[in-house]
């Protein structure tokens, strides 16, 4: 893998991570809000949704970072 | 934000973007991608085979190089032995000539010494004979007065005889 493609990969990961976390929280919130409306149980589902959404966002970020380490390992193995 | 508020244009945007995407997809899949991908593949194969060929050539060249190196080394060794031999030969010749010269010189020396010896002997003999004659003559003169005529005659004869014999023996 050459340097240019490494740079692009890094850039794409940087651009991904920001939205990854926010969007997950947003989705959790929206889903919780919808469930609250349906069951008329404000604000429990919303709160749970935000927490689960945050967890999901963290999970996504964690997966992306694992992807990076796997890539690095692969590169190092290839390099040596 | 008009992107959220202008709901009335959503249908048209969705419709046309999907249609356009589908058309682009089929057109590219049909006409554009296959030839380009094919040429990519072809080039990859070509490069691969050429790299293989190059590798083979490289190995061959390496073999040739090793051969050449070996030959060069042989030639070098041969040249070295030739030089060695020539050096030995020249040394031998040199030694021989020195020996010969030495022998010659020694012989010349011997010859010269011999000649000197001979000459010296000759001279010594000559001197001895002259001295003898002289001594005899002087002795004769001293003795002449005291001897009788008969004795005189006999002694003179003897002396003459002696000198003659001497001279004869010397070949003078």
């Amino acid at each position: 893998m050459n340097k240019g493609s490494e740079f692009r990969r890094g850039l794409s990961i940087a651009f991904r991570l920001g939205t990854e976390l926010t969007v997950a929280v947003m989705i959790g919130a929206v889903m919780g809000y919808a469930l609250d409306r349906y069951f008329n149980s404000k604000p429990w589902f919303l709160a749970a949704g935000v927490i689960l959404g945050g967890a999901a966002g963290c999970l996504n970020v964690y997966r992306v970072s694992k992807e990076i380490t796997v890539e690095n390992d692969k590169d190092q193995n290839n390099g040596v | 934000m008009p992107q959220f508020e202008q709901v009335e244009v959503f249908h048209s945007l969705i419709f046309w973007s999907l249609i356009s995407f589908a058309i682009l997809f089929f057109l590219l899949k049909r006409f554009a991608f296959p030839p380009i991908l094919e040429v990519l593949e072809e080039r990859e194969n070509k490069i691969r085979s050429e790299i293989g060929d190059a590798e083979k050539l490289r190995q061959e060249a390496e073999g040739l190089k090793a051969d050449l190196g070996r030959e060069l080394k042989n030639a070098h060794e041969k040249a070295q032995t030739i030089i060695q031999m020539a050096g030995d030969e020249s040394k031998k010749i040199q030694e021989k000539s020195i020996q010969e010269t030495q022998v010659k010189v020694r012989q010349m020396q011997n010859d010269a010494e011999q000649e000197i010896q001979i000459t010296r002997n000759k001279l010594l003999n000559e001197i001895r004979s002259y001295t003898a004659a002289l001594t005899m003559a002087s002795t004769e003169k001293v003795i002449k007065k005291s001897l009788s005529d008969d004795d005189k005659k006999r002694l003179i004869d003897e002396s003459i005889e002696e000198v003659l014999r001497e001279m004869e023996s010397r070949g003078v």
């Binding site: - | 008009p2 959220f4 973007s17 006409f31 030839p35 990519l40």
Partner: protein, 243 residues
């Protein structure tokens, strides 16, 4: 100064309707067509002038971009399945790239700055991944909701989290593209408005910024197209390999 978001409004040019739906052709649609025609035209130029083993300049560009996408597809989806998905993913890349870039021309329109459009594509890709997942693994596909190595007690919590993170994928995919394109164009618009409305003595400053940000926007157009494509690959690859 007028509302900087004003220029994202869409005004129909040719009024059309199909089965009761308004499908009028607007500036956005025309700009998209121009962009896509340029892409297709360039490809046809390469193909019609004859692809050769020793490529011309345009052919090199086409080959590099296709080779790049090919490597990406092979890396994330796997070499065996790659040829099946390559045309689709390459088309996504060129579609997004053309739409992003055509918007850089002043007076045209970036259709990817419409959330509905990016949303439709992201949803389409999401549904496609679900479809592929069920076709490939049947009911085992639900296993994607439970990551490997999770203790049994955690499963009731993990399933909602995984559902949210699954849904977050198309949403973040579409929101990212939409937000980047909208923000870039809005900044350009505001700066350009500043440059026009101030006297020349100060006006050159925002104008210089406009030029600089224009360059940045072109880079972002490429990066966003790249991210959209690579994430499509990642998502499809995920459902094919299932952990």
């Amino acid at each position: 100064m007028e509302n900087p978001l004003h220029h994202f409004e869409i005004h129909p040019i040719v009024h059309l309707s199909l089965m009761g739906f308004d499908i009028s052709i607007s500036k956005a649609v025309i700009a998209m067509w121009v962009g896509l025609s340029i892409v297709f035209g360039l490809f046809m130029l390469v193909v019609k002038s004859g692809v050769r083993l020793i490529p011309g300049k345009l052919q090199i560009v086409a080959e590099i971009s296709l080779g790049f996408i090919k490597d990406m597809v092979e890396e994330f989806i796997g070499e065996k399945e790659a040829p099946k998905y390559f045309p689709f993913i390459a088309t996504i890349f060129f579609f997004v790239l053309a739409c992003n870039l055509i918007g850089m021309i002043p007076g045209s329109y970036t259709i990817t700055s419409q959330l509905v459009v990016t949303g439709v594509f992201a949803t389409g890709i999401f549904i496609l991944t679900l479809f592929i997942g069920f076709a490939k693994h049947g009911l085992h596909f639900f296993g994607i909701l439970v990551p490997p190595g999770v203790p049994k007690i955690m499963i009731p919590i993990m399933i909602p989290i995984e559902i949210i993170s699954m849904i977050a994928r198309p949403v973040s995919l579409s929101v990212r593209l939409f937000a980047n394109m909208t923000a870039g164009h809005t900044i350009l618009y505001v700066l350009f408005g500043l440059a026009m409305s101030t006297p020349l003595m100060i006006g050159w400053l925002p104008f210089g910024f406009t030029v600089a940000i224009n360059g940045l926007e072109i880079a972002i157009a490429f990066i966003q197209a790249y991210i959209f494509t690579i994430l499509t690959c990642v998502y499809i690859g995920d459902v094919i390999h299932l952990h």
